[in-house]
């Protein structure tokens, strides 16, 4: 089946991100196609390029990137939720006159219309809230 995940919890604040990553890995292990993870609300912090958790803790950002690299999962970040939290890619940083950027590929800044699209074209959309 074709799946999408909506993640709205901040990493390391509550369990939502860990739950979503665990579910995502189980999905692909069962042979499902995970089209995308959509990061919304505080979930956008999962895309923070500079995240540096202690080495003996799960690295959520790397976990998402691995899912993308190994299984082609799109990592879509709501641009409106991201910009107001200081999360932006190089293009947006330039547009807003900021020195650095905090989001990098394979995460992509996108609109909430993409979430609607995922809901329509996937068989299942599973939400992980804070």
């Amino acid at each position: 089946m074709r799946y999408a995940i909506l993640l709205m919890g901040a990493p390391y604040s509550d369990q939502a991100s860990h739950s979503a990553l665990r579910f995502a890995r189980a999905l692909v292990a069962r042979g499902h196609r995970l089209e995308a993870v959509f990061f919304y609300h505080d979930g956008v912090y999962n895309a923070a390029r500079l995240a540096a958790p202690p080495q003996d803790e799960p690295h959520l950002v790397d976990g998402w990137v691995a899912l993308h690299d190994d299984h082609g999962v799109a990592l879509q970040v709501c641009i409106a939720a991201a910009l107001r939290r200081g999360l932006m890619d190089a293009r947006e940083a330039a547009r807003h006159g900021k020195e650095g950027h905090s989001v990098a590929e394979p995460f992509e800044l996108t609109g909430v219309g993409q979430l609607v699209d995922l809901g329509q074209r996937c068989d299942r959309l599973v939400t992980f809230g804070p």
Binding site: Y3, S19, R22, F23, T127, F128
Partner: protein
């Protein structure tokens, strides 16, 4: 059949009531994260209206030292079983 997912303990949040009131006669309810506390014998009464349709996630029970302490009426599933529940349901709803 829809799958409802609850991540709050009935001891600390009333969201379980919203989930229960939204449930159809065939719907199932899966307890995850702190929600697995609702599978304990002293709290499972909150879910007495959905006999045979209450599930709890094994990994989250284990992380809290609660595996083996669930009420007998609760069906324990691992994350693979979680995926299977979403396969069998036409839709999932998360309550948090």
């Amino acid at each position: 059949m829809k799958l409802h997912i609850v991540n709050r303990s009935p001891a600390s949040s009333r969201v379980y009531g919203q989930a229960l009131s939204a449930m159809g006669p065939d719907d199932r309810l899966l307890l995850i994260e702190d929600g697995v506390q609702g599978a304990l014998p002293q709290l499972v009464r909150y879910y007495e209206d959905i006999p045979g349709r209450l599930y709890a996630l094994r990994e989250d029970l284990e992380a809290r030292g609660l595996l083996g302490h669930c009420d007998a009426s609760v069906q324990v599933v691992d994350v693979d079983g979680f995926v299977q529940l979403t396969e069998e349901a036409e839709q999932t709803l998360s309550w948090y």
